[in-house]
C-alpha cells in the first residue's frame, strides 16, 4: 500500500476528533495559561484581565531564586544518581534471558506507575522511627536505638531516585538491547575483562544515549511534586510545589502561571538539547 496524500476533504475525517480534542483541551488551556501569566491577581476571584509583567518580575526575588536553584540542583542530583545506577543495571538486564527481562520489565513498570503519594508513603514508613529501617540496624547491633530519617534531604533524594530509576532503565533499555554484542565480544577476545570492556567499549558507544537520558530524567525529576512535601522540610520544596501552592492555596493564578511558563521554557530548552545530542549521535 502506498501512503497517499489526502485527496478529498473526507480523507481528513479521522483527524477531526483527535485534532479537535488536542486543540481544545491542550493547546487552548496552554494558551490560556500563558495569557493568565500576564494578568493581574484578583483576590476576590481567580484573576482580572490585564497585561503586566509583574508576575515575571517576582522571579527576581531571593526566595524564588533559592527555590529555583534547589529544584535544579535536586533534579540534577537525581538524574546523576539514576544514570549511574541504571546504566550497568540495564546493560546486565539487556544481556539476560528473555524470560528474566520480561519479569524485570513487569516489576519496573509496576514501580514506575506507582503514585507519588504511594512512593512517598512507603518511604516515609521505611524512614520512620517505629517501622523503619533503623529498627533493622538496631536488631543486628549496628545502632543503639531506632531514629526517624525523615524529613531530610537524603529522604527526598532517595525516594526521588526510587521513583525515577525505573523510568531511567526504560529510557536506556532500547539503546542497550540494540547494542551490537560483537563489540564487547571483540574487546573480550582482545583480553579486556568484562568490567574493562564495559567502561572502554559500552559506555563510550552510548555516550550520546547517556547524555540524552540524563536530560530526560532531569525533566522527569523536575516534575516531582509530592515527595519533597512528604519527605522534606519546606526548604526542600521544589518549583512544582510552589506553583501548586500559589495556584490553589494563595489563589494567585497569574503568578503560578508565570512560573509554569518559565518551567516550560527551561524544559523545552532541555528537550532541544536532547534532540541536538541525538542528531549528533546519528551523524557520528
Amino acid at each position: 500500500m502506498r501512503r497517499e496524500a489526502p485527496q478529498k476533504l473526507s480523507d481528513y475525517g479521522p483527524l477531526l476528533f483527535p485534532a479537535g480534542m488536542l486543540i481544545v483541551f491542550f493547546v487552548i488551556p496552554f494558551a490560556t495559561m500563558i495569557a493568565v501569566s500576564f494578568f493581574k491577581r484578583d483576590p476576590a476571584g481567580f484573576y482580572s484581565t490585564a497585561f503586566v509583567f509583574d508576575n515575571y518580575a517576582r522571579f527576581l526575588s531571593l526566595f524564588f531564586g533559592k527555590v529555583l536553584g534547589f529544584s535544579l540542583f535536586l533534579a540534577i542530583a537525581v538524574a546523576i544518581c539514576c544514570v549511574l545506577l541504571a546504566v550497568p543495571f540495564t546493560y546486565l538486564l539487556s544481556r539476560s534471558s528473555r524470560r528474566t527481562q520480561v519479569v524485570w520489565l513487569v516489576g519496573l513498570l509496576s514501580v514506575l506507575s506507582l503514585s507519588e503519594v504511594i512512593i512517598g508513603f512507603a518511604w516515609s514508613t521505611l524512614f520512620s522511627r517505629t517501622a523503619g529501617i533503623t529498627n533493622l540496624l538496631v536488631a543486628i547491633g549496628l545502632m543503639s536505638q531506632p531514629v526517624a530519617l525523615n524529613p531530610s534531604f537524603g529522604a527526598v533524594l532517595t525516594a526521588m531516585v526510587y521513583q525515577a530509576l525505573p523510568y531511567t532503565v526504560l529510557v536506556l533499555y532500547p539503546a542497550l538491547v540494540r547494542l551490537d554484542p560483537t563489540l564487547t565480544e571483540a574487546a573480550r577476545t582482545l583480553g579486556a575483562s568484562p568490567i574493562t570492556s564495559f567502561f572502554t567499549v559500552v559506555v563510550p558507544a552510548l555516550r550520546n544515549t547517556i547524555m540524552a537520558t540524563l536530560i530526560m530524567v532531569f525533566i522527569f525529576a523536575l516534575g516531582s511534586y509530592l515527595l519533597p512535601q512528604i519527605l522534606g522540610r519546606p526548604q526542600h520544596w521544589t518549583l512544582s510545589v510552589l506553583i501548586t501552592d500559589q495556584a490553589i492555596y494563595q489563589s494567585n493564578m497569574p503568578f503560578a502561571a508565570a512560573m509554569a511558563v518559565f518551567l516550560v521554557l527551561v524544559t523545552l530548552g532541555l528537550v532541544g538539547l536532547t534532540l541536538l545530542a541525538g542528531r549528533k549521535g546519528e551523524a557520528a
Binding site: F26, L114, A122, T125, I219, G223, A247, M253
Partner: protein
C-alpha cells in the same frame, strides 16, 4: 566470580525497588492501628477496610471509573490519529503527534495548571467529567506511542492485497488492520488505565475539592497522621499494576513494546 558480582548488583537494585513495598506489606497486616514493623499480630482486616469504609470505597470507585473512562477517551483520540498518520502522507499532521506527546513530556504540574486555568475560565472547574478529559489528554501519549508502534509493524502488502481484492478502506480497517493492532490497542489502554489510577496532581488541580480519587484520599489521610488502610491500599495498587502488566506481557511482546527489537530470543 563475575557472574556472581552481576547477580549481586541486580539483586541489590531489586532489593532497593522491593524494600519499601515489603515494609508497607508488613505494616498492612498489623493487628492494631499502629505503624509497626515487623508487624504485631496478623490481620487482613485493613484490606477489608478499603471496601467496608465508605470513604475509601468511594475513592476507589472514583479512581477506577476515572481510569476506565479517561483511558477509553485517550484511546479514542489516539486510534484515529495514529491510523491517519500511518495511512496518509501528510507531514503537517505530525504536529498532532507532537501535541499528543507534549503533555506527558512536560512536567505534569504544567499540564495540570493549564487545565486548571482552562476549566476555571470556562466555568466548569470542579465538575467530575473534567477530570476524565484532563486525564485523557495527559495520558494520550501512551496509546499513541503503542499504536504508532503497532501500525509500523503492519506489513503494508497485506493491506494492498485486501485492496486489490476489492475491499474498501472501512473493510480493510475492520478485517485486516484492527486484528493486527489489537494487542497494541489493549496495551495502550492498560498503560493509560494504570497511570490514571495512580495520578495525583492533574486530578488534584482539576477536581481536588469536589472529588476524591484514591491518591488524593491517601494524601489527605497522610496529612492527618497514619491509618493502616493506606498501607493496604498501597499493596492493592501494586498488585493491580503488577497484574495488568503481567497480562500485557503474557498476551503481548513487552520487550518489543518497550523498544527492543522483536524475537531476539536467547
Amino acid at each position: 566470580m563475575n557472574v556472581f558480582l552481576q547477580r549481586v548488583y541486580l539483586g541489590l537494585v531489586g532489593l532497593f525497588l522491593l524494600l519499601p513495598l515489603m515494609v508497607v506489606a508488613g505494616v498492612s497486616v498489623n493487628e492494631k492501628q499502629t505503624l509497626a514493623f515487623p508487624p504485631q499480630g496478623f490481620s487482613l482486616s485493613w484490606y477489608g477496610e478499603i471496601f467496608a469504609n465508605p470513604e475509601w470505597r468511594n475513592a476507589l470507585l472514583a479512581s477506577i471509573t476515572l481510569a476506565a473512562v479517561s483511558a477509553a477517551l485517550a484511546l479514542a483520540i489516539a486510534l484515529p490519529l495514529a491510523w491517519f498518520l500511518w495511512r496518509r502522507h501528510a507531514p503537517w499532521a505530525n504536529v498532532f503527534q507532537l501535541l499528543g506527546i507534549a503533555p506527558f513530556t512536560l512536567p505534569p504540574v504544567i499540564t495540570a495548571l493549564g487545565l486548571l486555568t482552562f476549566w476555571a475560565t470556562t466555568g466548569f472547574y470542579g465538575q467530575p467529567w473534567t477530570a476524565a478529559i484532563s486525564h485523557a489528554i495527559f495520558f494520550v501519549t501512551l496509546p499513541l506511542v503503542t499504536l504508532s508502534l503497532g501500525f509500523s509493524s503492519i506489513d503494508r502488502s497485506l493491506v494492498e492485497a485486501a485492496a486489490t481484492m476489492g475491499a474498501d478502506d472501512r473493510t480493510i480497517f475492520r478485517t485486516v488492520v484492527l486484528p493486527l493492532i489489537l494487542p497494541y490497542l489493549v496495551s495502550g489502554y492498560a498503560f493509560a488505565f494504570v497511570l490514571s489510577l495512580n495520578e495525583y496532581i492533574v486530578a488534584y488541580m482539576t477536581v481536588g475539592f469536589t472529588m476524591e480519587t484514591l491518591p488524593i484520599k491517601i494524601f489527605n489521610a497522610l496529612r492527618y497522621g497514619y491509618t493502616p488502610t493506606m498501607a493496604s491500599v498501597t499493596i492493592l495498587f501494586v498488585a493491580i499494576a503488577a497484574l495488568i502488566f503481567s497480562l500485557v506481557a503474557r498476551f503481548g511482546d513487552l520487550p518489543k513494546l518497550l523498544g527492543a527489537m522483536s524475537n531476539n530470543d536467547k
